[in-house]
């Protein structure tokens, strides 16, 4: 009888303590996939990023010490390479993830599989998903990440900076005559990028008119004939290397030799690490492309 009383008393104390702990630091959020996320510890002290763009944003918000896990593809800033790697592409090492005991895992709807979100949650992990498909989305994502990691002020400042840079490009290109653009993200076969993507958005803001239709696939395989029919003013080629910015080889370029873009010297290679990631650094890609398209307007010399 006595032991039951003691146990009951202990149980009450434990329940009381845990409630008071929860009250002290738990916080509710709704992530960008409209899922409800409860952070047991706020602000989170151990954060894992499962997307290179999220990693960039977290580092920029000054969370060098809080980041405890990243992906194999996270190569910026250089400090990211020193962190534990818990995934490559879409395959996540769940047991490593559990063993580093993260308070928060930030995933992206574009880079991770949705089935894995629920799997991680079933293992008792806290998962916040971002969904970033345009320049406007990037600003929203930065602010949302800031609030979930407890860096609201820094995040709002960073988002404002991104917005200012985008507006500066818009301002300079006001009333410009649009150039037709084709952007390739694959060489063999040629894979293009449609308008309803982040890259498509960057092209639009930098004054380009995508030659691909908005109702087609996002990343269609393109017959080279199509390029000769549409004959774009500018050909952008996303570098495929992960570390080094490398363009296609000469045999690839020779296929385009008769395009207007080739004759006028308007074939450019863009760093895919910046162009393809929905991070704050997208403004670098935007400014870069705008300068290449309209060197006079953008003052490419300075």
């Amino acid at each position: 009888m006595n032991s039951i009383k003691v146990t009951a008393a202990l149980l009450l104390i434990v329940i009381f303590l845990s409630f008071s702990l929860i009250d002290a630091s738990a916080k509710d959020f709704t992530d960008e996939m409209n899922r409800s996320v409860v952070l047991k510890k706020f602000p989170p002290k151990r954060i894992v990023s499962l997307s290179p763009s999220v990693t960039e944003i977290l580092f920029e918000l000054g969370l060098d010490h809080e980041i405890v896990g990243v992906t194999r593809e996270c190569n910026f800033p250089p400090a990211a390479k020193e962190k534990a790697k818990v995934s490559k592409y879409t395959s996540i090492n769940m047991e490593l993830l559990v063993s580093i005991k993260p308070d928060l895992i930030i995933v992206s709807a574009e880079g991770n599989l949705k089935e894995q979100f629920t799997k991680m949650e079933r293992l008792g992990l806290t998962v916040y998903a971002v969904h970033t498909k345009s320049l406007d989305d990037i600003q929203r994502t930065i602010v949302n990440i800031g609030s979930v990691v407890g860096k609201d002020i820094e995040a709002k400042a960073l988002a404002a900076k991104v917005k200012a840079k985008i507006n500066a490009v818009r301002e300079r290109l006001k009333g410009v005559k649009k150039k037709s653009v084709f952007c390739a993200v694959g060489f063999n076969p040629i894979v293009g990028v449609g308008p309803n993507t982040l890259i498509g958005d960057v092209i639009r803001v930098s004054g380009g008119e995508n030659i691909l239709a908005a109702d087609g696939p996002d990343y269609p395989m393109i017959n080279i004939e199509e390029l000769y029919v549409k004959d774009p003013d500018v050909l952008l080629i996303s570098s495929m290397g992960s570390e080094v910015v490398s363009g296609p080889d000469d045999s690839f370029l020779s296929k385009f030799a008769d395009l207007t873009a080739a004759k006028t010297g308007n074939i450019f290679v863009i760093d895919s690490n910046i162009l393809c990631r929905p991070s704050y650094r997208i403004t670098d890609a935007l400014t870069d492309i705008a300068k290449k398209l309209y060197p006079d307007r953008m003052g490419a010399k300075d």
Binding site: A84, K85, T90, N93, E95, E110, K119, L123
Partner: protein
Amino acid sequence: MKNWILNLTILLVLLFLVVIISASVGSADINIFTASKIILNHIFGFFSKSWSDSDALIILSIRIPRIILALIVGGALSCAGAVFQALLKNPLADPYVLGVSSGSAVGACIAIIFGLSGTLLGLAGIPLFAFIGAMITITLVYMIARDGMKINVYTMLLAGVICGTFFSAVIMFFISISASDKLRGIMFWLMGDLSSGEPSSIAVAMVVISIGIAGMYLFASEINLMTFGEESAVSLGVNVERVKIILFVLASLITATAVSISGLIGFVGLIIPHIARMLYGPDHKVLIPSSVLLGSAFLVLADTIARVIIAPYELPVGVVTAFCGAPFFVYLLKRKKSYGYI
């Protein structure tokens, strides 16, 4: 028979060892004693707790479900392979020979692209649609190969190959028109993956596959007679046409179940029955259980290698099955020159 009981014991011990080893290696550093204690404690509950919560979570919620999945998928694929090889009288036959793989892949692709979901008898989402795809394929192959009440195994083989090719083209079509985010899901599934089985699906698969294997084992002596020729089996009183249909259905059913929860894992169903035949002879009473046990042990081992060899990353398990299985098979082939496949 006495010899066989000894062999069976050895196989069971081997399987047990493989499971324990597999449960105690991985990215998280948990030693073999702690791993064994956590497992035994979960079953019997007599150890005092000397491990952390995350260790228990890793062993019980990550490694063990994956091992169980590898056990049932490996057993199912090699058992189905053994039966298909005997029925089709073809040493190249494997569980996917009748196009079940491509059919289920089409089902999975459609579910991924159109975001379909649904639940039937515990199978949910992608596995459910993969299973439906496999069943449609089997029915189609059977209808093509059927001639009155009989089925010609060679027509069936060809029908399977043709359906497989057709559905592969359908998959390629889906891949080339689908959006990038769906594409990743499809590729993930096509590569074969033991890491994402849902516990409820694993439980359903275990029941279906156990029943299927037991059912096929009941016909072991009929299979033995049929391998000497269908006419002689008929003259010995075997209802060949009925046995053939039952076996095709059971083998396809367990293949479809295995594929629907793990994607396409090659090589196991082709090579393990041959290895079992080399080690224990062509009697299907021995061959079926030994294929199941060897297949289970082999896939657990291959999956363990796949998840630790380039840790923290993983290799597709199909890479390991072919990479380790092929040289071992060549070794056995060279050692036992007089090997006949049935």
